[in-house]
């Protein structure tokens, strides 16, 4: 769990140094327009840009691959679904698997969807690999006027998440010690899972309550104006990053329209 939450990028890389809010905004501005089209060219162009920018974010390819592997499962799922259920079976016949005919049309449709999944998800994965949660909370409060109550509250709650894994193990062992196990019965397994999850939730709420009291005792959310021990600045370079992200995405879409590949998702 901790592994996924810690930033793993080189913090001195030129784009990793940008304001966390700017990085998040840029990822959104870049990804969202890509959803508008179903063609394979737009996401392919976007992916090329994303991979080319990797070194500027200080993220090594191996790190990206480790974090993005669940997407590969999604890709396999898309391929299987398209082979089984695609309505469009045009193009050259490539193979015939029983009742399912695999054509170039099916494959290009699947390829478009798979590229799209990667192109839309990677900016978020790259950017989060470079963001320290504390810096993000600071920037949200200082640069976007998110109330400290929410940003710091979420940050503190986040810190308790790794404890949940430990707690889950203890609860599971304690249930066995009480004579409760499910054996091979799937219904019993589900019930045991539900009761353990409920106990975990109750424990988490009690712990959260104690944390909230401790934060109150240290003057949190007392109405006094807060000061900032760590400054986050939103500089012209951050604005430029946002603009560049929007422009690059628009350029990919324009190329696809001009070359006739564009296939709008609506209509």
């Amino acid at each position: 769990m901790t592994l996924l939450l810690q930033p793993v990028a080189d913090p001195s890389a030129p784009l990793a140094r940008r304001n966390p809010v700017a990085k998040l905004g840029a990822a959104l501005l870049f990804s969202l327009p890509l959803i508008a089209t179903l063609d394979p060219l737009t996401p392919a162009l976007a992916l090329a840009v994303e991979l080319a920018l990797l070194p500027f974010f200080g993220v090594r390819f191996g790190v990206l691959a480790r974090r993005a592997w669940p997407l590969a499962l999604g890709a396999a799922g898309i391929l299987a679904t398209m082979v089984l259920f695609a309505a469009d079976r045009t193009g050259t016949l490539l193979a015939s698997l029983g009742p399912f005919t695999v054509t170039t049309g099916v494959l290009s449709g699947a390829l478009g969807l798979i590229l799209r999944v990667f192109a839309v998800a990677l900016p978020g994965i790259i950017v989060f690999a470079t963001i320290d949660p504390t810096d993000l909370a600071d920037a949200l409060i200082q640069n976007t006027r998110v109330p400290a109550r929410f940003a710091i509250g979420a940050l503190a709650a986040f810190r308790l998440v790794p404890l949940l894994a430990e707690e889950w193990q203890m609860l599971t062992l304690a249930r066995r010690a009480r004579g409760i196990d499910a054996g091979r019965n799937p219904v019993a397994r589900l019930r045991l899972f539900a009761s353990t999850a409920f106990a975990l939730l109750v424990g988490a709420l009690r712990r959260g309550g104690r944390l909230a009291t401790a934060m109150d005792a240290r003057g949190f959310d007392s109405g006094a104006p807060r000061t900032y021990a760590r400054r986050q600045h939103f500089r012209p370079a951050d604005t430029a990053l946002l603009a560049a992200a929007a422009l690059t995405s628009a350029a990919a879409l324009t190329t696809s329209i001009l070359t006739g590949f564009f296939h709008p998702i609506l209509g």
Binding site: I180, R210, M215, R218, S222, A229
Partner: protein, 466 residues
């Protein structure tokens, strides 16, 4: 430094019939260091919460007045895990000053000063998650001190810590120069930190007030009776009446990767075995392995002449032979009534209903829980929850009982009860294995002690320089 004046103070939580604390008249002068005692339920924690301003007017009804003259109030709680807010140590200490609007330029000097005052040995970028319990509690104290309180309140600050961690935090408290109010069961360890003792009476008001010598001379016996660990009162010892019988469980070179180095150990019927050793030596892990809850990564465990190792047994078989009691009782509760908790094990073993009822009634009586039979286990006090968790393990009458820190954080009365109960079980022929830090427990009960070798020594932390 601050001065505190309470006049006929009382507080009743919304929806409760009785007052949590009432009729308290108290004046605490600048720089006084007070130990606040009283049986559980006398309202010590409520009084601290009131002084810290943590009782909002709409959460109950108040009586009398509280006056605090001087700078702010800081409060340190029991559990370090739920007091740390930030991922990096320095950021966590800065959290309070940020909240109260200390100008940014003054925050980091204050952080550095607070960390020095508690003797925090690491750089400010140290991850809070990488600290031991005692170090985390030191850091939490620095976070409180960074607010420069004139009055420091400490609510059982060592209750969740092992002895080494407790020592760390007591050292840090000794250096603090503010007016101080400390709630702590373990009086002997608290004595060097304080110069005055105030005892709250269970029915309201102050039962005793004065220097430690005067208060303990006059009220020692009654305080000990109420469960306070008054120094100088001897504890009963229970020697085994018979020699140990056959081995119930035997571990040969059992090890768990990253948690327990190979150890050979045997637990016998009619014997109380104490497993001791420093933190990180894997005591709790060993308890889980012997209890049939965790598979060792190497070595073998044999028990009850069963060809299969205990961790492969079905859970119902396991509870009929080995009972495990966890360090934190709440982990083990699975029902919403105390009586159901006790009936659960025997029912799953298929015992007839009449027998289950008889077992439940007997255990309730034996562990003084009869009045709480209908209560929700999660609402019990620490001592009651501990007694219930032991009772649940006994309900299936296992020959072997494995306990992890059974006396941890218990008051004197519960402690004496538990030791007597375990001694009785041993003398009936049960085997007892207890993982413990508690020297008094080892002295009072253990027939044999197994000392786990310390883990590889940590390099000494280098002194932090800001």
């Amino acid at each position: 430094m601050a001065e505190v004046v309470l006049r006929n103070f009382g507080w009743r939580h919304a929806g409760r019939r009785s007052w949590a604390v009432r009729g308290v008249d108290l004046r605490i002068g600048h720089g006084e260091r007070v130990l606040l005692l009283g049986p559980s339920g006398a309202g010590k924690s409520t009084l601290l919460a009131a002084l810290a301003g943590l009782l909002p007017a709409d959460s109950g009804e108040s009586e009398g007045t509280v006056e605090i003259d001087g700078e702010g109030v800081g409060l340190l709680f029991q559990d370090p895990q739920t007091q740390l807010v930030m991922a990096r140590s320095g950021d966590d200490v800065a959290f309070g000053p940020e909240n109260t609007g200390v100008p940014a330029a003054q925050i980091w000097p204050r952080v550095s000063d607070a960390l020095d005052r508690v003797g925090f040995p690491y750089p400010i970028t140290r991850r809070t998650a990488a600290l031991s319990g005692g170090e985390q509690q030191r850091l939490a104290l620095a976070g409180v001190l960074a607010l420069r309180p004139g009055l420091l309140l400490l609510d059982e600050p060592t209750a969740n810590l092992d002895p080494a961690g407790g020592e760390l935090i007591r050292e840090a408290i000794a250096r603090v120069g503010t007016t101080l109010i400390l709630v702590e069961h373990r009086v002997e360890q608290a004595l060097p930190l304080i110069d005055r003792v105030v005892v709250l009476a269970p029915g309201g008001g102050v039962a005793a007030d004065g220097s430690p010598e005067v208060v303990f001379a006059g009220h020692g016996p009654s305080l000990a009776e109420q469960g306070v660990w008054v120094p100088g009162y001897p504890l009963p010892r229970h020697r085994a009446v018979a020699t140990p019988a056959e081995a119930l469980v035997r571990g040969e070179a059992v090890a768990v990767r990253d948690r327990l180095r190979p150890v050979s150990i045997e637990a016998r019927a009619g014997e109380a075995l104490a497993v001791v050793g420093p933190n990180g030596a894997g005591k709790s892990t060993l308890a889980l392995v012997l209890g049939g809850l965790l598979a060792p990564t190497s070595g073998t465990v044999t028990a009850f002449a069963d060809p299969r190792p205990p961790h492969r047994w079905r859970a119902a078989t396991l509870t009929g032979r080995i009972g495990s009691v966890f360090q934190s009782p709440e982990h083990q509760f699975v029902t919403s009534r105390v009586a159901d908790e006790l009936a659960l094990g025997p029912r799953r073993l298929g015992r007839p209903a009449a027998e289950v009822r008889a077992t439940v009634d007997e255990l309730l009586a034996r562990l003084r829980l009869t009045a709480l039979a209908e209560a929700n286990p999660y609402t019990l006090s620490g001592g009651e929850a501990r007694r219930l968790s032991v009772a649940t393990a006994l309900a299936t009458a296992p020959r072997l009982l494995v306990l992890d820190e059974p006396t941890f954080g218990q008051d004197r009365a519960t402690w004496i009860d538990l030791v007597a109960l375990l001694a009785g079980l041993r003398d009936e022929g049960h085997g007892i294995v207890a993982v413990t830090h508690d020297d008094a427990f080892v002295t009072a009960l253990a027939d044999r002690v197994h000392d786990l070798a310390p883990a590889a020594p940590d390099p000494l932390p280098r002194r932090r320089r800001a």
